[in-house]
Symmetry: D5
Subunit: 96 residues, 10 copies
């Protein structure tokens, strides 16, 4: 089941570069694992912003929440979640 998840990152200015890099490295590692699992189906950068638009494919709302809570950047992100579903005009039988 698909969710449209928009994440905007606001790292505190007084976080040291080392802390930030470490945080981002762990975030990338987890994000790539979730992508390989097919959970994080799409991850796009919004050009010009420290933000992304992602499409998650999860079993249900709780799975989505638990997944997002594993992200190291979670405490520094403003996240907006909207449920998606197959559009009646889609040429695909499923929710691609």
């Amino acid at each position: 089941m698909l969710f449209h998840v928009e994440m905007t990152v606001n790292l505190p200015h007084d976080m040291t570069p080392a802390q930030a890099d470490q945080l981002k490295a762990r975030e990338k590692q987890i994000a790539q694992g979730l992508q390989r699992d097919g959970v994080w189906r799409h991850l796009w950068r919004i050009a010009g912003r420290y933000a992304n638009v992602s499409i998650f494919d999860v079993a249900d709302n709780a799975a989505l929440h638990d997944t997002l809570m594993t992200l190291p950047l979670f405490p520094y992100m403003d996240i907006v979640v909207r449920p998606l579903c197959r559009h009646a005009s889609s040429i695909h039988g499923d929710d691609r």
Copy 2:
């Protein structure tokens, strides 16, 4: 090149059902053509709203605009466009 396009449809209440159905039929026909061409890469319904989130793959901004202008529902839609690009944490080499 990818664009995140959110379309919210507001049909006037005094439009007759017949007019609306005809408009939607032409919209669906054009939308499905664009999907087959690979231009309209993703088309998802936002659950609960007469709105969709779409990912367009076009040559450039002008191509995007010209494409959206062909949609019969264009005059009745509020459209927000944001440029996307490959995310540094994506496991894909391209912008899937």
Copy 3:
């Protein structure tokens, strides 16, 4: 799976009372059927507004959308949907 659905109704001023009453009667009939089915788990009036807060229990996003599309007032409503899940501090094992 639960969704928080807020519906604000804006009937056009030039709709006749008879049309409006007929629309509301059909809406009530469908809404009560969905409540009996356990789909429309909670339906509360926001005091002072022609709006409600509802909790829907559905299989997935598509089921939610299809359900809301059956509502006669759908074309006249602004609907905001947010996915809910069990809170870690809830005393209930499920998502009551």
Copy 4:
């Protein structure tokens, strides 16, 4: 009498994990007590956000305020309160 209470938590980034955990533990303890008392009737997590939607059943506005003021997280929360009442289309005689 029911109130729809939406709480969004913003803990300061410079709060130590220990302080935060202690605060959350006390919050959970109080929240569960209020749930057992039937005051905090529903507590749902908004998927993807450090926020919840809750339904409080209290005697009046003052009781609601006093109850919310007992929450350890109160100083760190943005709270929006809206009064609810039984909907004319509800199949329940009361405000479930």
Copy 5:
């Protein structure tokens, strides 16, 4: 129990002056009755706007909603309701 109710009136431009005057006359009549009953405790005009700030003293949320639904201008008003209660710094023992 007190509620802060802000009402902004938007009469359709194509309503005839006679209809509008009749509507306002009935509104005034009902509003003054509610004031005499002590339900509509304060009614102030927001200078420069076709809007008012009112303080309602009612038994509960349902009473508030039912009261507001009796207002002829209800369909033409945007209403925002917020629950009030006695302030800890008030010199009054009650909620004046």
Copy 6:
């Protein structure tokens, strides 16, 4: 002359409890003096928020500003002021 004044308090998280309590004590003292003088005519708590709705009765705009500037919490408050006047449908001859 009446003004509707809405005050939302945002104390900095790094203010010590002692500082905060002292500030609030001075605020309460001044607020109660202004109430006894009839300047601060109404002071209500917005349930669930560290905010109040107040009605000030002052000679003019300058008097309102000077009065609000005496409040110890002024630097920590977001204040919105709107001028009120007697409503044509009020049953009172004055601006109660």
Copy 7:
């Protein structure tokens, strides 16, 4: 006493040019009378918009409201009123 009044005019598209011109002529006549009386102290056009920023000098809130209600364009205007007073850094002894 001064008020900052911002007026944005939205004439209905189906108003005939003749009606609109007549309305504007009456508006101009009344506006110029109020300026000569010193009530409407400043009237400036916001470049590029059918809107103005005005400074009214009136006895009190009620006088402001009554004055604005005399404007033929009142039903077609969105008006925002804010009370002004002499600034402590003004070189003028009064509120010029």
Copy 8:
């Protein structure tokens, strides 16, 4: 002197195609004249919207307003104007 002018066009749905085309033709004619005069220095389409971002080079605010008032689409446009000036980091000596 430069102004950033953003124009969003909202033609009424009940305007006939013939009226709309005539309006747009006159708009294009005037817009191209202003461009040739160097007044309308830049005119860009915001991709996906019936809106443009324009840079006007005019003598002063009044000239800007008078120019925009000549546009046939003016009554149907929401216009936001912001004054621009040469940026300290520009490599140009003037305000290109």
Copy 9:
């Protein structure tokens, strides 16, 4: 040429009173000089807020920007600028 400039001041809470007073003293000194020069034509306090509405009379946009940049409080202010011009209904031949 006139500009409507609204300035809202947000001094950081951890600025010492001495620093703040020194900053305000320099601001007042510069502001009064600009008023005497006729650049800062009007300076009014928005009652109840640490904000002002000002009317600047400058040669052009660049002059406005350079002037505002001289204000010691500039880094702590949110400033909104809108170009004004003489209103067609003004009784003055110039832009008073």
Copy 10:
């Protein structure tokens, strides 16, 4: 291909003047390089604000993002990007 990029700078108040000056110097150096390369086609100051409106001419979205990421002020800027294209009423054959 053109993008409209609006950048608003918010430097933390506790950044030392030396740090800020160094940051701005590097920003200016990079910005001027990009202008000479024709990438940063226009750079205008929004009068009265620490913000600019810029027009970037880049190959695609990714190039835009990578370019903006090279700006030293990037972490301190709120950036809004909108895709532009040639307007049908432009007298230019290209996207000037």
